[in-house]
Symmetry: D2
């Protein structure tokens, strides 16, 4: 399961002919070996998106030199772009409250090596999950959200930056983030909502679903924006229920689907497979 | 695929101990052979629901005599109940506009014998589908909805009653039914809505779904009430889409899921498997 | 999530008219309140199966007295039957090797209270998972399978009986059980096989699936019999893969589906929802 | 739903650096606008596969001139390649027996414009479906397979060639094709098998599935080779069943899944999305 070191190049730019040729020409000219390549055009927005994985060892220079040499080309096509290096693991800061099914799932994927990230700390507004987190040798930091909210979330932001977090994961964190925090880290905060959005946004979605009598329930992994439960959707899934299921049954089925939807969405984010276009995402699998 | 003649007994009543014993005792006392039995309690409403299929030949009397003899027991338990006879096929009146994927699917299931119903007529506000319907030797009736709506729908109601319809199926009928019509046939009008309700009610749901950037789309089969797209849900399903899919692709995927959700929901209704409780359904499979 | 104490009565017997009436009559006569009831007839075998959950507090006697009083009726109908008491948790003995995804999942469901069982011990032929198991305060017992197999499995059987195990769960235990052990505990040993049986029985199913080029992979939870991977199937599921997935990707997707299929199958077994008929199962949900 | 005319270029060749650059460079150099591009490497076989859709109007020459100019590049990289033109519809010859659910589905998709193909004729070894086919103004040709098999299939091959068929679709055609016919049209004969292969190959798969007690059934769309039910798989899917379902129920569920799996597989084939590598397929969606 060890894969060779790779650079992942993600690009968005105005659509026109010749972009693939220019980029793949640049890579080929330096002997670069492309192991995965994906493209997409958003027709309404007239934007082009691409993602390429290149074997690091096939290139005669490192990531920084790649970035330097690629810059003129990027400028010519007015690209928004990024090159990441698989040797530099992303750093996830995880926020939880008292429910631990998503946390248990994430930490298992992390400790088994399936999820290739660093987790510098777990932040919580409760003490309940301290011993489980610390059993993994991960620092557990309690932040009190009972008192002054703005202060508490300023503390969260500071911790995130201090731990050089790349991504903040709300793993069933039962607090609404203040708009200022959402705006400060656009495309870097990921939430798992326990409904198939846009149905049942807000509080108690399983209860809402039960009352409406739907025949499937779902979960949604999305980027957090200042609009509650309205950010770009990364991944969703549904599961069948029936009239015999109580709200408690829905919550139980829901836990399984929340775990898997968050894990899949997060994996795509960590592998730079998710590009944002307005309020939608392109997810290159 | 010929199954022996059956009586299907469906009951709802206030929940208490002894209901199953009383009903199954009544059936057993007359030698009745139960081939399928299902039960459900709605705890909040304190209502009990049951459905039993009994071999007609195992009983020494016919359906009318069953009803007469069962009435006192039903009264004792304050039951809302019904006995249907598989030899009496339900009569479906189908309403369509110009889209024919659901109609094509329904008529195929009907002519292949999979859907055991009679279809006395198809009603449409367009002429487009006349030849296809008439190829099946089913009368095709055009009702003009361009002019006075109330008159048009009065005509629909009259046709439905004249053809002794048991159930009116809106197979992508692109007109909103007036409240009076909905109230006149409660639990007897079935619609297929092209979204996973309660998301994207109303017009152009695929367009709405595309704009929101959801990762699955769905369809919903429900009873029609005077609240648009808000009646009791019988069946739903979803299908995965991705960023590469246009609105046209969504419409195409949607056709397949609309067909199968309508067919499954309708089959349950026709077999008396659907019991309504407030705005929810119990569906005994 | 606390549910009131229940007795679960499961029955199989030759099919005839009047069984439901007799059983529900017996329960009603003592004031028993049925909260869930399911029935099934296997037509070829002419066998009838039923499962009833009765509120313990609604009856004027305890489980033992129920059994005494019910025995004559059971004899009259030639029933194979069993009454279990939700206050008596089933005891699961879990066998593992080195892969821990199913174990991690099971222990999480156990410690969160979702899976209402006792786990008296975990047995393994490797030492790898000792610290994780012991963190849960569950005894971890190493059994050496490198040497004399028959002795090792005699030791497993002795441990299972000594810990009064109700069910032995092979949670990715990478050893074939000897036929004698399988025959000793019929219907009490549950395995998770990492393919959609009957495809890809035996070793390395993901590798087999990869070579065959299937478009979905699956997992199967089944009772263990002396025929390898051929016992009665309790639960199965599949997940979509594509040409871009390596064997390692299949293994990764597979872990998720193995976990959920085992968890669902085991839950059904623990709740006495699974009745065996020849090499098939009836699973009352 | 009208899409602009496109050329679709599909390529397989030995893997090496620079292929994407060379091909996209060639296209860009002539102003070609790529609207969809997909790549895949088979690591074991060290083969590279690609598919590109190019807007026909963006190029200064036609398909033949494209082929002429592209040939030297193709030779340099030892490519197996093909350029198809969306203005040239593929010609499907459909073979059926008496079951018509797949035929009904295919002809609906064809007459609604969803499946962009020509159907020069339908061939059958029975007369049952003549009137339905002829209602579509498609010639229906009866071939007698009761007598000398080799002659009958020679006649089928001749008809296929005479009607300039691109693809032969076995839409529940209940005859095993002779090896000679399979070898004569490699990658051009598509079958729908009514099981999740490799489980339940051969006759009566639903009966086999019923006897084994599986919890899901499936269908498989695959290219026909001389090994029965063992050709490269294009598409598969499964559906959940339970103990209450008879063989007839399995057959009924199966019809729906056969229809959709065949339709999806066939669509991919028609759009040149399926590339064969040994006994596996790459399906670019």
């Amino acid at each position: 399961m060890t894969t060779p070191r790779r650079y992942t190049l993600t690009i968005s730019c105005p659509d026109r002919a010749g972009i693939i040729a220019a980029v793949s020409g640049f890579i080929a000219q330096h002997g670069g070996f492309i192991v995965e390549a994906s493209y997409h055009t958003e027709h309404e927005a007239q934007l082009f998106f691409m993602r390429q994985e290149i074997l690091a060892d096939s290139l005669p220079f490192d990531a920084d030199e790649f970035r330097r040499r690629f810059a003129p080309l990027a400028q010519e096509f007015a690209m928004t772009w990024q090159l990441s290096d698989s040797a530099q693991k992303k750093r996830l800061v995880v926020l939880v409250s008292t429910q631990d099914h998503c946390l248990n799932d994430l930490l298992y994927r992390w400790r088994s090596g399936e999820l290739q990230v660093d987790i510098p700390c777990v932040i919580s507004n409760h003490e309940d999950l301290r011993s489980f987190v610390e059993w993994h040798d991960i620092p557990f930091i309690h932040v009190d959200t009972q008192g002054h909210k703005a202060d508490a979330f300023e503390q969260v932001a500071t911790l995130f930056e201090h731990h050089r977090g790349d991504c903040m994961v709300l793993a069933r964190f039962m607090q609404v983030l203040p708009p200022a925090l959402c705006q400060r880290f656009p495309g870097r905060i990921i939430n798992i909502h326990h409904s198939f959005l846009p149905s049942f946004a807000g509080a108690k979605p399983y209860h809402q679903a039960y009352l409406r009598g739907v025949k499937l329930i779902g979960a949604t992994c999305h980027y957090v924006t200042e609009e509650l439960d309205d950010g770009p959707i990364i991944e969703q899934d549904t599961v069948r229920i029936d009239h015999g299921d109580s709200v408690d049954d829905l919550v139980r089925y829901g836990r399984d689907i929340e775990k898997s939807v968050l894990a899949r969405g997060l994996r795509c984010h960590v592998e730079d497979r998710v590009l944002v276009c307005g309020n939608k995402t392109i997810v290159f699998r």
